[in-house]
């Protein structure tokens, strides 16, 4: 990759050294210097000396560090790209160094749940959607930063790292955030769209991971395109159903962050969520699959949350329920499929969801 004359530009921060974090850091590095925060000093050292992270070459403009204050002091624009499970904690450690000048654009396709002590997301648990926060809400709760955005869309990290053409959407209430996101991320092979529907885009990105799990399972069973199309279209309906209760706008589901992302993950063995489903269908156990996966599949957490929320709301989401039963052990993949094929769906699209009759 050729280096632009970017050394005099203000550096941009990336929190997280996972595969997506690395992919975003490399994209950003084409336009300006990047400071990447990793958790372990060893990883940081190895990136700085070998330019290799997770088997991929890192751009020469990327410098790794474990010093959170350094990132906050040097970078007014920071991209947190970290799993939802550790998101709140990481933001808390960053919070004391943030000023109102900072802009945060996160790329985490997960939600944060505030549970009381002893509560667990079992199949019966009723989860009030009010306890579920998007990553933007976490940032707003823990920091004084107001200019927040999110990154969503079909962004398979490995393809981006290979420099293949791709696109993303940056959603924010602030034009300023969208513009700065576009300016820092856009490259000749990476298109960046903007959206004002922050919550809608975030939720679309989160919920599609559940469908990706199922897509992997169908593929593992050896089924073809009809089955996949069935899953995607029915899956979208459930995404809308659940997403509405999380305060999302339906329209975002039609965009890059919804359908776009769904098609990419449902077709790709490179997606972690897809892989989990695929290997389950091939007969492996969840424990075995998780044991040799390097990074978390956000879909598993989202699946528990969606299921528990549907319990609370008293809504029927057969696809989500079935995927839950299959993944967490009550049904085999075949039983799950059988159940869904016999489930009495009477209408394709329930127009009341869209405000019609």
């Amino acid at each position: 990759m050729s280096s632009t004359n970017s050394s005099d530009k203000v550096p941009v921060g990336v929190l997280g050294g996972g595969s997506f974090g690395s992919a975003i850091a490399n994209l950003l590095a084409e336009n300006q210097p990047v400071i990447m925060l990793t958790r372990s000093q060893d990883v940081a050292d190895s990136i700085n000396s070998t330019r290799i992270n997770r088997g991929r070459t890192m751009h020469e403009n990327v410098r790794a560090t474990t010093d959170v204050q350094e990132v906050a002091d040097q970078c007014k624009l920071i991209y947190p790209i970290i799993p939802s499970a550790g998101f709140r904690e990481t933001i808390k450690t960053l919070a004391p160094f943030l000023t109102p000048e900072h802009i945060l654009i996160h790329g985490t396709k997960g939600v944060d749940v505030r549970m009381a002590d002893g509560e667990q997301l079992t199949a019966e648990f009723k989860l009030n959607p009010k306890k579920v926060n998007t990553m933007t809400e976490v940032i707003m709760q823990e920091t004084i930063v107001r200019r927040v955005g999110c990154l969503a869309g079909p962004n398979l990290a490995s393809e981006i790292l290979e420099g293949q053409p791709a696109a993303t959407v940056i959603a924010s209430h602030f034009d300023e955030v969208i513009k700065i996101g576009q300016r820092t991320l856009r490259t000749p092979r990476f298109q960046v769209y903007g959206s004002h529907d922050l919550t809608g885009v975030e939720i679309a990105g989160v919920l599609k991971n559940v469908i990706a799990l199922a897509a992997g399972a169908l593929s593992g069973l050896g089924f073809g395109e009809n089955a996949k199309a069935l899953l995607i279209s029915r899956g979208l309906v459930e995404m809308i159903h659940i997403g509405k209760h999380l305060g999302g706008d339906i329209v975002a589901v039609l965009g890059l962050a919804g359908v776009g992302d769904l098609i990419a993950t449902c077709s790709s063995s490179k997606s972690r969520n897809f892989t989990v489903g695929y290997r389950l269908a091939k007969g492996e156990t969840l424990t075995a699959i998780l044991a040799d996966m390097e990074e978390v599949a956000e879909g598993l957490n989202t699946l528990r949350i969606s299921r528990a929320m549907a319990n609370y709301l008293g809504i029927r989401v057969p696809l989500t329920e079935t995927i839950y039963d299959v993944i967490f052990g009550e049904k085999t993949v075949e039983e799950g499929l059988d159940y869904l094929m016999k489930f009495p769906f009477y209408v394709d699209i329930d127009r009341s969801m869209f405000g019609g009759r």
């Binding site: 000023t99 109102p100 300023e176």
Partner: protein, 566 residues
């Protein structure tokens, strides 16, 4: 309530600025001409900017202004309109025709001149004057009136109207973060944002602001109110500025916003009712109007540009005004039901349109034996952050925040209207949240809530409009049934009070179930012709007017209490 200490004037708190010459609002009046000149200049600058600095747009907007103003003149003329309105706009029309026909050199006598004339006229109409003597008179007068009326309420009727002294502060409880607000008013500029349920609010909040020793505030008042002679006399001298909701053209709106911004920049404390009009449903404000709130953000940005580190900060003080009853409840809830029932057209019921009606209203209000709680909520900066008594802003973890940097991009303060609009929207959300946390629940509201919910559950297949048509014989509730639900509501409210998500009156915290019901019943809608809840001949509870019951029930909406009474 705790014993109150009064200063020698009979007020609770000493004034922050005893010398009226140092009041920003007085300074503004003393330099009125200069102020108006600056106002016109800056407004025109903003008008041009909002029209993209495009002469064609400006011309279109002028034509639109002229057109809508001429319609206003014929269709909705008000007593408060200036007597020469017609002549003024006829002249504008003639000049516009001449300019557009190109008969004259547009540079000599063109659109610029027209804008100047119109904006200047608007500015002069909007800007109020302040008169210290009138202020002192009004201050004494309202206190005197309020106090006398409350005496009458104690002794039932006019016979003892001039009788024993009774203190106003025992009836109107001023509670909350008063010392905090006073401290901030000395450090910077404060904007009071109260909830709005009753026509009495304006007068009451004015009195409540004086009571805690704050210098007078600048507030907008509907131009229609200036048609009532006594109101006009007071408001014309008390720093009210005129807001005309009929005028929706850019020239007017920008001038109005600039007036608010400029006066805040000059240090005048402000008062907005962020909900706009009174809450028709009786619910706490769910969303707020952002137009005037946004001017505070502009003022804050300009303060930083002008004065750097020395810049005065602007603080927002949410205030909840809590009543046991709202005299206009009947007409408010009727309007609410009509609007939500898709009858888009409704007539603004003018229960306040003449001086005598207003006096009767105030008399009725105070002669009813009822308490009012005015609660000053936790102050915040314009970004919704917590502030301490020194005026420092804090992040959620207690670190000090330099709010100037919210206006930064690339290390400098920049003007970004879209960004400011978003900040304002977020501030609006924080204010709504604060209203819920700072509201004070009364026994009367609990009773209304419980009774309405029982009826609603009983007819769970019926929609709201069906419920509203139920005859009173269907609105009978057994004492045991009501007591059970009240018990659950009280338990939950005590929890919420503990969590800081609402405040409750002392009786709810300490009283027994029967004393809460007793107090609630004594206070619930006592001044309405038909009672929302009463004992009937059989010793059961009965509602004579479910609409009114619904109205008072609504005040406790939004706390998810219904989940705890199943």
């Amino acid at each position: 309530m705790a014993t109150k200490v009064h200063n020698s004037d009979g007020w609770l708190y000493d004034p922050i600025l005893p010398d009226s010459d140092s009041w920003p609002i007085v300074k503004l009046t003393n330099h009125r001409e200069e102020f108006l000149k600056e106002l016109v200049e800056l407004s025109i600058e903003n008008i041009k900017e909002s029209l993209g600095n495009n002469p064609a747009n400006l011309k279109d907007e002028l034509a639109r202004t002229l057109y809508t103003e001429r319609i206003r003149l014929t269709q909705t003329p008000w007593k408060a309109d200036a007597p020469d309105e017609k002549e003024f706009w006829s002249q504008v029309k003639k000049d516009m025709v001449r300019i557009n026909a190109g008969h004259e050199n547009p540079n000599a006598f063109g659109h610029e001149d027209l804008i100047q004339r119109i904006v200047k006229r608007y500015a002069e109409e909007i800007a109020g004057v302040f008169d210290v003597k009138a202020y002192d008179f009004a201050k004494g007068f309202t206190t005197f009136m309020f106090a006398r009326l409350l005496n009458a309420s104690q002794d039932k009727g006019f016979s003892r109207f001039w009788g024993s002294r009774h203190n106003l502060h025992d009836k109107i409880h001023l509670i909350g973060e008063i010392d905090h607000v006073r401290a901030l008013a000395e450090k910077g500029t404060v904007i009071i944002v109260p909830t709005h349920f009753s026509n009495l609010d304006s007068m009451l909040i004015g009195w409540a602001i004086q009571s805690i020793g704050l210098p007078p505030v600048l507030y907008g008042a509907g131009l229609n109110l200036f048609g009532i002679k006594i109101m006009a006399w007071f408001m014309n001298r008390l720093g009210a500025y005129k807001v005309d909701r009929r005028k929706k053209n850019t020239l007017y709106l920008e001038t109005l916003k600039m007036y608010s911004e400029l006066s805040l920049r000059k240090g005048c404390n402000g008062l907005f009712f962020p909900g706009g009009t009174r809450s028709r449903s009786g619910m706490l404000e769910k969303r707020v109007k952002l137009g005037l709130l946004g001017t505070a953000l502009q003022a804050q940005r300009m303060n930083f540009i002008d004065d750097g580190e020395e810049a005065k900060k602007i603080f927002v003080i949410p205030v909840t005004i809590n009543y046991n009853f709202v005299l206009e409840a009947q007409s408010l809830i009727d309007q609410h039901l009509k609007i939500s029932g898709q009858e888009h057209y409704y007539v603004e019921n003018d229960d306040f349109s003449t001086s005598s009606k207003m006096m009767r209203f105030i008399y009725k209000f105070f002669t009813a034996s009822s308490e009012i709680a005015v609660r000053y909520g936790a102050p915040m900066d314009l970004f919704g952050n917590r502030v301490d008594e020194e005026g420092n802003s804090f992040d959620p973890h207690g670190n000090v925040v330099d709010i100037k940097k919210y206006f930064y991009s690339n290390g400098d303060i920049t003007k970004d209207m879209q960004r400011d609009a978003e900040y304002t929207r977020m501030l609006g959300e924080r204010i709504v949240k604060s209203f819920h946390a700072e509201a004070v629940a009364f026994c009367s509201q609990i009773l209304a809530y419980a009774a309405f919910r029982i009826i609603k559950t009983r007819y769970n297949k019926m929609d709201l409009y069906g419920l509203m048509r139920l005859p009173s014989e269907d609105l009978v509730i057994k004492p045991k049934e009501l007591m059970d639900v009240v018990d659950k509501v009280v338990t939950r409210l005590r929890q919420l009070n503990e969590l800081g998500e609402i405040h409750v009156e002392k009786e709810i915290l300490e009283g027994s179930l029967s004393s809460i019901i007793k107090k609630g019943l004594a206070n619930l809608g006592i001044y309405h012709a038909k009672l929302p809840l009463m004992y009937n001949a059989d010793g059961d509870f009965e509602s004579q007017d479910i609409k009114i019951l619904y109205f008072y029930h609504n005040r406790l909406e939004g706390y998810e209490l219904h989940k705890f009474i199943r």
